[in-house]
C-alpha cells in the first residue's frame, strides 16, 4: 500500500518527516517496504493480511493519529442536492455472498480529466489517471479502502441490477477485454439478462462508462471474502478490489463510500446525484462487542497496563471502551480517567513482584468498529494494547520449567550418529531437493510410478524422489564439471513412494580411494571401500548385516549387492562370532551397494568412463532391528588365543561367505574369529581357481588351549572344506 505523505498530512497533522513517520508506523506492525523521497514523498507499506482497513489512507491515518495522539480529520462525505431519480431496480438475491449492496444514480456532467491535485495523488499512490469518474472511484478506494464500480445505466437491460450467482455456462467479457467463463458458485452483478460484473473482482466491458454515458450507477457493496477469493483464484484475476474484499470489507463503508464519491464528484464538477441511496442490507449486523479483562492482559503479555491506558490506547483506533459496572477497582484506577490523547505507559512486572491479583483489575466492554474485521475476540484487543508501543516496554523474561521433558526422539539421535560415522569415513554431507526430474527418478522407482506433484515449479522438480541417489549423482556430476574428480558425498533424508515417506541414507564416491600422497599408493575407489563404510555404519547402529549379489538397472552387473540386515542375536554372541538367530521378521533387505552404470552416469552429465560407487540404506528398516536395551559389557578374555593361518585353493566363483560358513559349521566352539587376509589369482594358481588365505583365532574362556586340540580343529576344518568345496590346502 503506497501512502502519499501529503495525503496523510491532510487527515492527520503529523509533525514528523516522511522517514520518521515510516519508522513510527513500522513499529506498530506496518512493515515498511520502501520510502520514496522527493516532491511527492510516498511510504510503501507491506500490509499484513489481517489489516484490510489499512489498505487505505484513512486506515493508516487512524494508526498515525493514535501513534502521535493527534486528532483524525474525516474527509467530507456530505451528499449534495440530488436531481430526480431515474428508473433503476436493484435486487439482492444472494445476501450470503453479498451481505450489503448499495447503489446510487449519478448524472455525468463532465467525463474529461480530473483536476491536477487528484491526478498527482493517484499517481503517487501508483494508480493511472483515466477520467474524472474513474479517478474518483479510485480516489475513494485508496482513501477509504472501499472499491466501487460505475455502470452505464443506459446499457443495463430493464434498468436493473440483479445480484445473483452466475448461470451455468454463462460468459462475460471483463473490463480487461477478456471473455470469461463463469461458474455457478461465482457471484455476478447482472442486468435484466446478462452478467455485467464479477462481484468484488471486476466490472464488465459491456456496461463500462464511456464518452456517451449520461447516467451512471455507482455500486458500493460488501462481498463475502471467501467467495471473492475463490472466484478471483478460479478466474486468475487479482485486482485492487478483489485484494481488499477477500481480506474483509467494512460493512458500513458501502454507503459511506457513495457519499464520499458524491462529495468528490460535486467538488470537481464531474457528476451530480440523482434520486436517493439504494441500500440493500437485509440482515443488519450489529457491531461486535468484546469483554476485555485487565488480568488477561497481564497474563498474556507479562506486564500490567495502567487502567486508564486501555481506553487511551483503544479509543483513537475507533474502539468504544466502557468500564463494566462489575469491575473491581484497584489502586491503579485512582489515577482516574486518562486524557484522550495521552502517551500510555506499560510497566514491567519485576520477577520478584507477584503477578497482580486478577481481582484487583477491571474489565472493559469494548465495541469493535466495523472496519476492524480482524478483531473478533479478546486476544485481538490484547494485541492492540501490546503493539501500541511496538513492544519496546516489554521486559525480557524466561518461561518457567515446570515439568521434566519426555525422552528425545530416537530418530534425531540416530541421524546424528549416522552423520558422524559417515563424516569420519571421509564423506561430506550434501543436501539436495526432495523433488527431481521424472526421468532421473524412474530407474530408482520400484514397482510403482513415483509420487508426483500437482503444481511443480518446473519439469526439473516434477516428482518426489524415490531414492536419494538421483540427487547425489547430480551433485557428484556438478562437482565433476567443476574439475573435482574425487567426490565423496552422502545425504540423509526422506524419500517418497505412493505409500508414503521413509528415512534413508545414501552416498556416492568417485575418484581416489584415499587422499593422494607423495609416497604413492594411489588407487581408485572400489566396491570394498563403499561396502566397508556400510559395514562400519551398521556396526555402529548395532545390527548384523550380510551382502548378497543383486541386480539393479542403475548398478553395473556383477558389481552390486543387496544389504540384508538382521537383529543381533545378542551382543555377546555377536562378539564371539556366533551365527545370529535367523527368523523371518528379524531379517530385512535394507539397502544396496554397487557401481553406478555408465549410462546412468552419462544421463546425468558425469563422464561415463569413470567409476562411481554408491550405497543407499533404509534407516527406518535398520531402526526397527536395532537392539533396544543397553550394551552389555563383556569381561575381557583371561586366556591367550591361538592364531592359525590357512591357505586353500577353491573355485574362483565360490563366495567367501560359503567358505566362512563351512569353517564355522565344522570348527570347534573355540573358534572366535575368522578373517580373509589374502586372495590371489595368477602364477601358480590354476586358471579357474583362487588362492584364499584365512586367519583363524581360537580361544577358550575357561583355559589355555593346547596345540594338539587346535591342530585337531584345523584338520576337521580342512576336511570339511575339501568335501564341501573341493578345497585344496596350499
Amino acid at each position: 500500500m503506497k501512502l502519499p505523505y501529503r495525503w496523510l498530512q491532510e487527515l492527520v497533522a503529523v509533525p514528523d518527516g516522511v522517514d520518521a513517520v515510516a519508522a513510527k508506523l513500522g513499529l506498530r506492525g506496518f512493515e515498511v517496504a520502501s520510502v520514496e523521497q522527493g516532491a511527492e514523498p510516498v511510504i510503501d507499506f507491506d500490509i499484513t493480511a489481517n489489516r484490510p482497513d489499512c489498505l487505505s489512507v484513512l486506515g493508516l491515518a487512524r494508526e498515525a493519529s493514535a501513534a502521535y495522539a493527534l486528532p483524525l480529520r474525516q474527509p467530507d462525505r456530505s451528499m449534495p442536492a440530488a436531481g430526480p431519480a431515474p428508473s433503476l431496480e436493484v435486487s439482492l438475491e444472494e445476501a450470503d455472498l453479498c451481505p450489503r449492496y448499495c447503489a446510487h444514480a449519478f448524472e455525468v456532467l463532465a467525463l474529461g480529466g480530473s483536476p491536477e491535485w487528484m491526478r498527482v495523488r493517484l499517481e503517487a499512490a501508483g494508480v493511472r489517471s483515466i477520467n474524472a469518474v474513474v479517478d474518483v472511484t479510485n480516489y475513494v478506494m485508496l482513501e477509504m479502502g472501499q472499491p466501487t464500480h460505475a455502470f452505464d445505466l443506459a446499457r443495463l437491460r430493464s434498468g436493473a441490477l440483479v445480484i445473483r450467482r452466475a448461470r451455468s455456462g454463462e460468459r462475460m467479457r471483463t473490463l480487461d477485454g477478456i471473455e470469461r467463463a463463469l461458474e455457478p458458485d461465482m457471484l455476478v452483478i447482472a442486468d435484466g439478462e446478462r452478467a455485467q460484473a464479477v462481484g468484488g473482482v471486476m466490472g464488465g466491458a459491456e456496461s463500462e462508462i464511456g464518452a456517451g454515458t449520461r447516467v451512471m450507477v455507482l455500486e458500493s457493496a460488501c462481498f463475502k471474502p471467501a467467495s471473492v477469493r475463490r472466484t478471483s483464484k478460479r478466474l486468475g484475476l487479482k485486482t485492487e478490489a478483489s485484494t481488499r474484499f477477500e481480506r474483509g470489507a467494512d460493512i458500513n463503508a458501502a454507503p459511506a463510500a457513495i457519499a464520499r464519491a458524491a462529495a468528490l464528484f460535486d467538488q470537481i464538477g464531474a457528476a451530480r446525484p440523482l434520486g436517493g441511496l439504494i441500500d440493500r442490507y437485509p440482515k443488519p449486523q450489529p457491531p461486535i462487542r468484546l469483554r476485555l479483562r485487565g488480568d488477561r492482559i497481564a497474563r498474556v503479555l507479562g506486564v500490567s497496563v495502567a487502567d486508564g491506558d486501555v481506553p487511551a490506547i483503544l479509543g483513537p483506533l475507533g474502539f468504544e471502551v466502557r468500564t463494566t459496572p462489575d469491575a473491581v477497582h484497584s489502586a491503579a484506577t485512582e489515577r482516574s480517567e486518562a486524557p484522550a490523547f495521552r502517551a500510555p505507559s506499560i510497566t514491567a512486572r519485576t520477577p520478584d513482584a507477584p503477578r497482580p491479583s486478577p481481582f484487583a483489575l477491571p474489565t472493559w466492554d469494548v465495541t469493535v468498529p466495523t472496519f476492524r474485521v480482524d478483531v473478533l475476540r479478546e486476544i485481538d484487543l490484547i494485541e492492540e494494547i501490546a503493539r501500541h508501543d511496538g513492544y519496546v516496554g516489554l521486559p525480557a523474561t524466561f518461561p518457567r520449567l515446570t515439568a521434566p521433558q519426555p525422552p528425545p526422539d530416537p530418530r534425531t539421535l540416530r541421524d546424528r550418529t549416522i552423520k558422524q560415522v559417515l563424516i569420519a569415513s571421509g564423506l561430506s554431507e550434501a543436501m539436495t531437493f526432495a523433488f527431481v526430474e521424472r526421468a532421473a527418478a524412474l530407474p530408482f522407482a520400484r514397482e510403482t510410478d513415483p509420487a508426483a506433484l500437482a503444481n511443480p515449479l518446473s519439469e526439473k522438480y516434477a516428482v518426489l524422489r524415490p531414492s536419494l541417489l538421483p540427487g547425489l549423482i547430480d551433485a557428484a556430476a556438478y562437482n565433476r564439471r567443476r574439475e573435482r574428480r574425487d567426490v565423496r558425498l552422502f545425504e540423509t533424508g526422506a524419500r517418497f513412494t505412493r505409500d508414503g515417506e521413509n528415512r534413508a541414507v545414501a552416498a556416492v564416491w568417485s575418484g581416489a580411494a584415499a587422499i593422494p600422497h607423495w609416497s604413492g599408493g594411489a588407487r581408485g575407489v572400489d566396491f570394498y571401500d563403499v561396502k566397508g563404510v556400510v559395514e562400519t555404519l551398521c556396526r555402529t547402529l548395532a545390527v548384523e548385516i550380510a551382502f548378497e549379489p543383486a541386480s539393479r538397472p542403475y548398478f553395473v552387473d556383477g558389481r552390486a549387492a543387496e544389504v540384508i540386515v538382521r537383529r543381533k542375536a545378542d551382543a555377546a554372541g555377536a562378539a564371539r562370532g556366533a551365527r545370529p538367530v535367523d527368523s523371518g521378521v528379524s531379517r530385512k533387505i535394507a539397502g544396496e551397494v554397487g557401481q553406478i552404470t555408465a549410462s546412468a552416469l552419462e544421463a546425468r552429465g558425469f563422464p561415463a568412463n569413470e567409476d562411481v560407487f554408491a550405497f543407499e540404506l533404509d534407516v527406518d528398516a535398520i531402526a526397527a532391528l536395532q537392539p533396544s536395551g543397553d550394551v552389555r559389557a563383556e569381561s575381557l578374555p583371561r586366556f591367550p588365543s591361538v592364531v592359525r593361518d590357512l591357505s586353500i585353493l577353491v573355485d574362483a566363483v565360490l563366495p567367501a561367505a560359503s567358505v566362512r560358513g563351512t569353517i564355522r559349521s565344522s570348527a570347534p566352539p573355540t573358534l572366535v574369529h575368522i578373517v580373509e587376509f589374502d586372495r590371489y589369482r595368477g602364477k601358480g594358481v590354476p586358471e579357474d581357481r583362487v588362492s584364499l588365505s584365512l586367519r583363524m583365532t581360537f580361544r577358550s574362556p575357561e583355559r589355555t588351549l593346547t596345540d594338539a586340540e587346535v591342530d585337531d580343529g584345523m584338520e576337521r576344518i580342512v576336511a570339511a572344506l575339501a568335501s564341501a568345496h573341493n578345497a585344496v590346502r596350499r
Partner: protein, 345 residues
Amino acid sequence: MDISSLKQQFTAELAAAASEAELRALRDKYLARKGGLVSALLKHVASAPADVRPALGRQANELKQHIDAQVGERLAEASARRPAADAVDVTLPGRDPLIGHRHPLTLLRDRIESFFLRQGFLIVEGPELEDDYHNFEALNMPAEHPARDMQDTLYLASPVTSATGTPATLLRTHTSGMQVRYMERYPPPVRLIAPGRVYRRDNLDLTHTPMFTQVEGLVVGDDVTLADLKGTLVAFAHDLFGPDRGTRFRPSFFPYTEPSAELDITCASCGGSGCAMCKQTGWVEVLGSGMVHPAVFEAVGYDPERYTGFAFGVGIERLALLKWGVEDIRLFYENDLRFLEQFPL
C-alpha cells in the same frame, strides 16, 4: 706472509666454512704435507736465522695445533648435526586422513538445537508429507484464508499414505503440523522445537529455494507470556550472533499467533546505520513469532483460558546467510565441495 696474518686469514676462512667438505678442504689448505701453507712455513723455519729459529718454530707449531684443533672442533660439531641416515623430512606433507564435512545447514541446526536443549526444550520430528488440517486448518487458516498466500503450497498429484494415518495431500510449508500433532497427543506443559525440511512454491533466486530448513518452537504452560517469548528470542539471537548484536522485537501478523512479533537484529554490513542490504533501515529480519492463538488451542483441545503459550519459526538458511555472509542461498543446495569444505567440521 707472517704467522699472525696467516692466523687471521685462517680465522676468517674458518668462519666462512659451513659444510664438512669445506672444513676438510680448509684443513688441507693449511696442514697438508704437500702444499699446506703451515707445512710450507715449517719448512721455511729450517732456513731461518738461528736467533729467530726457535721462536719462529714454536709459533708455527702453535698455529698448526690451533688450526688442527679448531677445524677438528668444527668438524665434530658438524658431524653431530648431521641427520641420521633414516631421518624423515619433516617438511614434506603429511598423509591426510579421509574425513568429510558436515553440511553448513547441519552445523547451524546442531548449534540451534544445542541452544534450545540447554533451555530445556524437547526436539520433535514429524512427516514432510502433510494433510491440509495439520498444515493449515488447525492453525487458524481455514480454506480461502488470505494468509494462505503467505505460504504458497506444493500439492501432491494424488494423496499419499501418511505415517500418521491420514492421507497426505501436500508438502508441509512449515513444521507447525508437528506441533499440532504433539498437542493433540500430550497435555501441557509443552516446550519443544521442531526442526526439519519444509517446502514452498518459490522460484529459486538469491534468497529463495523451494525447499528449506526450519526450526519452529512451541512453549505452552499456565504462565507463559509475550515477555517470556521476547526474553527467549533475544537470548537465542545473542547466542547465535554474539551478545553485542542489537535486537528489536516488533509487532507483526501470523494467523496462528496473536499477538504476533518479528525479531530483527542490527544489520551486519552497516552496523545499523542503514545500507542497501537492510533497505536503509539498519535492521534485518530474523524470525517470526507470537503468542499461540486461542483458536489453535481450541483445535487441539487445550483450554485457552487456562493455558497460554508462544511459538516461533526461523529459517536456518536465512540465519546462515546472516551469520556467515553467504550471498546466494542456492549454494546450500548445489553441494559444491569447494563451498561445503569452507565450514568447520
